[in-house]
Symmetry: C2
Subunit: 333 residues, 2 copies
């Protein structure tokens, strides 16, 4: 369980957070491991903002920054970590720091985040769980600190907002998200190019993997459930791994009429990661709990042992029970 | 050639357009054939707005309105076409009225549009080619007419803006587009659901077609060109046709490193429609002109005769010439 009640963590207001940043001079900015557009956008936008204020700051990530973010990533300052103020952006728990946890896990002076699940591991926290992205918060911070925003700063923030909202598609978007986007359009951000890189670029190997995975499609329960499989052999043949495989879950949730999209990814000889995407009245979190996993209402996961066929049967049997409940409810009502 | 210089067409300002709408009482609102989210969103939002002003209005389309737009489509008034004021929304040329052209082509009193290519066929025209969608214009019109906007009106306008911009992804988006979106979020539009319907729903038959088409992928010119084929047999087997096939061109333009995405769609025994998507320095329009077709810089098309292999060779040979020019230019510079 996540401890959300750490009494030693003080929650700051936006103004207090701005004051905190102005008061200190040397910063280490931590992003989460397996970095995405929002943690990187927030980290670099904060870095550029702090530079405008004449501060020293360095951005650190446990993992290599993917090449596609190069348009807003620059070399940052070398900072003495012992005397610096440590900030974490978009990092909901210590563990998400990856290999940086050991060094910094208990030393984070300020965490700026939008995850409602933030575990309060930092000494100070600015949390706005209504923000679509941590980059929304950074924009507001730079605005109230009256910091000059450069094109590259705007690009970083637009990237975080666009990637965390599926380009303004998801339920975390608010009126404020669009207002901030409109303000970022006043800079030279070349948003169409950012969106092309983030949303409309697929590697050839991924296209090849998708072709193979579509061959595995099984439909169940009157086409209300699709099951896609990614075997170790497919991953080896195409060279796809890790984040490449996220698009398979996206396919499983996009088929018309499907309320349970299952993807099985082989991670060992007899180990499979299950990703489940559901629409109401199905609840992904409930189903995955029954499989020993967990997650959110619409997206959850579990890890199962067995052959591909055995794992399929385990998942399908739990989904079958839910579908039968559903059908019984419909015929009873 | 489109005649953009019709002297009999008077161009109105936004204010004059609002005045025009207030002055008349009975309207027929025409949308374009093969209706999309923008023409329908604009037509129905204008209808709801005019109803708030106490007017009589009917929305007409030459073709059946796809079921997915049902959440903002309602039955409209029966209007006497002879005495009514005829408005066309998002209709760039008479021909785009489809079967309505015969009756209404020369009788359009006011056209409201955002296509720079508008042929000035109407008696009065309000054209804003900087608007991302005609729905952006309708929003501004309703705003300056001080018309009450209902949730359904807001849903219609959001749909037009979202669909014409690829959900805020494309180069037609401006700061104003996001400002209008933020205002539409003040209503109960359930944008995530609209976006799910418009962008994240794929029919099972389309998924099946995509699987087949991915099997046909050929790469040329050091992976800078991909060629995808949709045979008549695939269309027959899956039941996919018409707008279903648009997603194939989308795939062809999304592959990393590809600057020429070609899709060939069989439309007769020995007839193929070529769709070409390019990135600079390639120009789709130039290439398709050489094939007897035409279009825009980034998206163009042509129709070719021959067997699949013959048609492939025709297209590839023109693209080859352009690639060789390109390579010569690079090595010379």
């Amino acid at each position: 369980m996540i401890d959300n009640t750490n009494k030693l963590c003080s929650e700051l207001s936006l103004k207090e957070t701005a004051k905190f940043l102005k008061k200190h001079d040397n910063f280490v900015i931590l992003t989460h491991s397996s970095p995405d557009g929002d943690t990187l956008g927030a980290g670099y936008a904060l870095y550029y903002g702090l530079k405008e204020l004449g501060k020293i700051a360095g951005v650190i990530c446990a993992d290599i920054i993917p090449q596609k973010y190069a348009y807003f990533v620059r070399e940052t300052d070398n900072v003495d970590e012992d005397s610096a103020t440590i900030i974490a952006v978009d990092v909901a728990t210590k563990a998400l720091l990856g290999s940086l946890e050991e060094n910094f896990g208990d030393k984070v002076d300020l965490c700026i985040d939008h995850h409602v699940s933030n575990s309060r591991y930092a000494k100070n926290l600015y949390l706005d769980s209504d923000a679509s992205a941590t980059c929304e918060i950074i924009f507001e911070l730079l605005e109230i600190m009256d910091v000059n925003i450069n094109d590259i700063t705007a690009k970083a923030m637009y990237t975080g907002i666009a990637t965390d909202t599926g380009c303004f598609k998801y339920s975390n978007v608010t009126a404020k998200t669009h207002i901030i986007a409109s303000k970022l359009y006043e800079y030279n951000i070349d948003a169409p190019n950012i969106n092309k890189i983030m949303f409309d670029t697929k590697s050839r190997k991924l296209l090849e993997l998708e072709r193979m995975v579509l061959d595995t499609a099984e439909y169940h329960f009157n086409n209300r459930c699709i099951l896609l499989s990614v075997t170790a052999e497919m991953q080896e043949k195409t060279g796809c791994s890790g984040s490449d495989l996220e698009s398979i879950a996206v396919i499983s949730r996009s088929v018309e009429g499907v309320i349970a999209g299952i993807s099985l990814k082989q991670t060992g000889d007899t180990t499979f990661k299950v990703s489940l995407r559901t629409y109401p009245p199905l609840n992904a979190s409930e189903i995955c709990k029954a499989l020993g996993g967990g997650g959110h209402n619409a997206a959850a996961g579990a890890t199962l042992e067995g052959t591909l066929d055995e794992v399929k049967e385990q998942v399908i049997s739990v989904v079958r029970a839910k579908m039968e409940e559903l059908d019984a409810g419909i015929s009873a009502s």
